[in-house]
Amino acid sequence: MLAMFFWAFVVGGLICVIGQLLFDVAKLSPGHTMSVLVTAGAILSGLGLYEPLVNFAGAGATIPITSFGNSLATGAMQEVQRHGIVGVLTGMFEVTSSGISAAIIFGFIGSLLFKPRG
C-alpha cells in the first residue's frame, strides 16, 4: 500500500510534468494541452497500455485528465464486446459519467454559492 502511494505520487507527478512541458516548451494553451493529454489517454487505452498503468500507479493514473480518455475508450470497448460495433457509440460514457456529472453538479452548485473573487 505504501508502494502504491509512492508510485501514485511519482506517476501522477510525471504526467503533470508532461503537461507542463506542453505548456512551456511546445507553448500550447491550456485547452490544447488538455486535449492532447486526453487524446493520448484514449490512444494508450486502445493499445491496452493504460490499464496496467492504473494497476501499477492507482490514483497516479486515474486522477490526471489522461484517465478521462482512458475511461471513455474503455467504456466503448466493453460495450463493443457486448453489443458489437454499435457499442462504440453507446458505451462511451458508461464509465466516465461520474466525473462529468460531478463536474456539472458541483459547477452549478458553485455558481449558486460563490462569486468570482478576481
Binding site: F23, D24, K27, P30, K115, P116, R117, G118
Partner: protein, 336 residues
C-alpha cells in the same frame, strides 16, 4: 511642418484643469498609491457584476474631476472616453448617467491618449470650452473577456501583464491663466503589425508602434529627445520597454534609459505578482492624471511625452490565428 503631418501642435494653450483618479484594492498596495483620489476596497464596488463595477469606477472618477473645480455635468460640453470591453459599454453606460454629449472612443489601451489628444484638439480650435477625457479598465472584466474566467487556475507566463483596475479622467479647458499642465502637441499613431500573435506578450507586440509614434513625433516637431524630461510609454512593461530601447538605438534616437519610463512598470510594487507589469486603458490614464501630473506640479518634470500603446486584438481575432495589430498615440504635456 510638412503638409502631411500626423502631429497636431496646439497654440491656444489647452490645459488639464482637474483630474479624477480612482483605483481598486490591488492598486492601493502599489507604488503610486499616494497619487490616487480614491480607492475601492472591493473589486465589486457594491455592484452585482464586474461590468457595472467598471461603470461605477468611471462615474466616480468623473465626479471627482468635476468636484475639484466645482463644475457640474452641464458645464462640460463633450465627454470623450472609452475602455476595453465589448462595444465599450461601461463607458457608454456611464455617459448615460452623466448625460454629457458623448464621443465613444476605442484604441484599446491607447484610448487614454486618443481622448486627450482629441480633447486638446477640440479645445484648441474653439470647439468647446470644457471637455472631459479619459479611460478606464477593470481587471476582472478584461480577464473575463480576453483570457479566462478569473477563478481559472491557468498559469500566466512571465511575459503576461496585469490589467489595472482604475479610471483616470481629466477636464480639459483653456481658462487657466497661471502655470498648468498643458497639452502642447499630439501625435496620432498608425497601426503597425509586426507579426506577434501571442496574446500573453502584448509588450513585445506594441513596442514597435510606440517607437514609430515617438520617432514621427520627434521628427515632425523638430525636437530632440532631450527636449523632454521624460518620455513615458503606456503599458509596454518589462519586455516591451527593453525592446523599445533597443529599437531607439537601431534608429539612432538618443533616448537614455533613465529618461524613458513605462506606466506599466510604475503602478505596482515589485512584490506584487503582476508578471511583466501593468496594462489596460486605465493604466496610462491613472499614471498620467495621478502620479505624473503631481510630479509636474512639484516641479520634478517640466515637459513630458506620454505615448499610450494599444493592442487592437479581440479574443476572436487571436483564436483565428491573426497577429496583433498595434497603435500608439502621443501627447506632449508641458507645465507652463
Amino acid at each position: 511642418m510638412p503638409a502631411k503631418s500626423q502631429t497636431w501642435t496646439f497654440t491656444n494653450r489647452p490645459a488639464i484643469l482637474s483630474t479624477g483618479v480612482v483605483g481598486g484594492p490591488f492598486e492601493k498596495k502599489g507604488r503610486i498609491a499616494g497619487d490616487f483620489d480614491r480607492f475601492f476596497e472591493d473589486l465589486w464596488i457594491g455592484e452585482d457584476s464586474y461590468e457595472k463595477a467598471q461603470r461605477k469606477l468611471i462615474e466616480e472618477a468623473v465626479s471627482i474631476a468635476l468636484k475639484k473645480r466645482n463644475l457640474k455635468e452641464t458645464d462640460i460640453q463633450f465627454f470623450l472616453a472609452g475602455d476595453l470591453i465589448n462595444q465599450i459599454t461601461p463607458t457608454s453606460f456611464a455617459a448615460r448617467t452623466n448625460a454629457i454629449p458623448y464621443v465613444g472612443l476605442f484604441s484599446a489601451c491607447a484610448t487614454s491618449m486618443e481622448s486627450l489628444a482629441l480633447a486638446a484638439f477640440i479645445i484648441n480650435h474653439g470647439g468647446a470650452e470644457k471637455v472631459l477625457a479619459g479611460a478606464s479598465s477593470h481587471n476582472t472584466t478584461t480577464e473575463k473577456q480576453f483570457r479566462y474566467p478569473t477563478e481559472y487556475g491557468g498559469q500566466k507566463p512571465p511575459t503576461a501583464q496585469w490589467t489595472v483596475t482604475g479610471a483616470g479622467f481629466a477636464v480639459v479647458g483653456t481658462e487657466e491663466n497661471g502655470p498648468a499642465p498643458r497639452i502642447t502637441s499630439a501625435t496620432i499613431g498608425k497601426v503597425l503589425d509586426l507579426g506577434i500573435s501571442d496574446p500573453f506578450n502584448m509588450g513585445g507586440a506594441m513596442a514597435p508602434a510606440a517607437v514609430d509614434t515617438i520617432e514621427q513625433h520627434l521628427r515632425e516637431t523638430g525636437r530632440d529627445p532631450s527636449y523632454y524630461d521624460l518620455i513615458v510609454t503606456g503599458d509596454l512593461a518589462k519586455i516591451g520597454r527593453s525592446i523599445a530601447l533597443d529599437l531607439f538605438k537601431q534608429k539612432n534616437l538618443d533616448i537614455r534609459s533613465e529618461q524613458f519610463q513605462d506606466c506599466g512598470l510604475m503602478v505596482y510594487d515589485k512584490s506584487q505578482p503582476v508578471q511583466a507589469g501593468a496594462s489596460g486603458a486605465g493604466c496610462s490614464a491613472i499614471v498620467l492624471y495621478g502620479h505624473l501630473l503631481n510630479e509636474m506640479k512639484k516641479g520634478r518634470y517640466q515637459k513630458i511625452l506620454l505615448v499610450a500603446t494599444g493592442a487592437l486584438l479581440s479574443p476572436l481575432s487571436y483564436q483565428q490565428g491573426e497577429t496583433i495589430p498595434c497603435i500608439a498615440h502621443a501627447c506632449a504635456i508641458e507645465y507652463l
